[in-house]
Subunit: 170 residues, 2 copies
DNA sequence: TCTTAATTAAGAATCTTTCTTATTTGAAGA
DNA sequence: TCTTCAAATAAGAAAGATTCTTAATTAAGA
């Protein structure tokens, strides 16, 4: 679903303000990658973004798209439907429950709550198709990560790319 | 968190019943992979399961773990924290909203609902760490997939591995 | 026990993600 | 506007994750 012209303009304005105040450079690549990500509400996969950006800017490298989307995520400009990077995780608990996920180390814990279990799926969702399951996903910084800056990431074999520190202003 | 012996025994019973009624073979590899997945509620990544299974059965191949967990998912014995296979998807909408995800084609749609937006995070979740966000994830078969058995998967470049059809009994 | 289709191991192939290096460039200050 | 330089980029290599191919093994029904 394509976003309206006015909505897109508003988002682009916000994008530019965030980039400026974060003290990172505004490049044509970043502008185009943001524009493409914001163009629709389809939640495009990275490969789709890459393909569409290249149609306009043939020289853009795949690595730039990875780096840029990761930067956008740090700046809060985009979110990902799962913590990136992470792998699929498996859950043998087939009873209704919900998840708490640490955005830093990937720790994933079940929690239950009677009120949430009987959660009503609104008609806006039911209109999209049949419902198989509904659960709440809570994200945050787990206690261990909050306490210890050096906690080892859980269940993650690959280390994060080293990035230059963001110079935050104001 | 290790599951209690009684709970594990109950889950193993369920596992065996499902395998039998689905008409698929019970193999030592499957039993061990299930046992390992059900042993804790840590939501292990595939690589963790593989490592632990190999400690007991050194010959098991990585491919078998992939195939087996995918089978378990089809049988409803395990769920994954994201539809498998899929890639990270990006979302430039930074306002509160929720997601509907089609388990077949990966279609991902936003929906909003005032009641869900003001969703209270229960203390069971708050005990695990600080809260950055909370949203509802609804899964099901989207209208297009329900209508058309040949809908093309959205935004997925790789085709699923061809699998033998499950012979369902009863 | 015998038979056979399902399942597996092994390794190759493919795809995804990250890293290294050399080059280019945005933007702040002269 | 010009200069400067840290930040950002392209290109390709490397590493890692996932799937496929093939041949051998095996679970489970006859």
């Amino acid at each position: 679903m394509t976003r309206s012209r006015t909505e897109l303009k508003k988002m682009l304005g916000h994008f530019k303000a965030v980039v400026r105040s974060a003290g990172v450079k505004m490049t044509p690549q970043r502008l185009e990658i943001y524009r493409e990500t914001a163009r629709t509400d389809d939640h495009p996969a990275l490969e789709t973004i890459y393909r569409n950006v290249r149609a306009k800017m043939p020289g853009v490298s795949l690595d730039t798209v990875y780096r840029t989307l990761d930067l956008f995520r740090e700046l809060g400009l985009v979110s990902t439907l799962r913590p990136l990077p992470d792998r699929a995780r498996f859950d043998a608990n087939t009873t209704p429950h919900h998840h708490y996920i640490c955005t830093r180390c990937g720790l994933t814990r079940d929690f239950t709550d009677p009120k949430l279990d009987s959660l009503k799926v609104p008609s806006a969702a039911r209109a999209l198709g049949c419902i198989e399951s509904a659960h709440v996903e809570v994200r945050g910084l787990c206690t261990a990560c909050a306490n210890d800056k050096n906690t080892k990431p859980t269940d993650r074999t690959r280390s994060r790319r080293t990035k230059p520190k963001l110079k935050r202003r104001d």
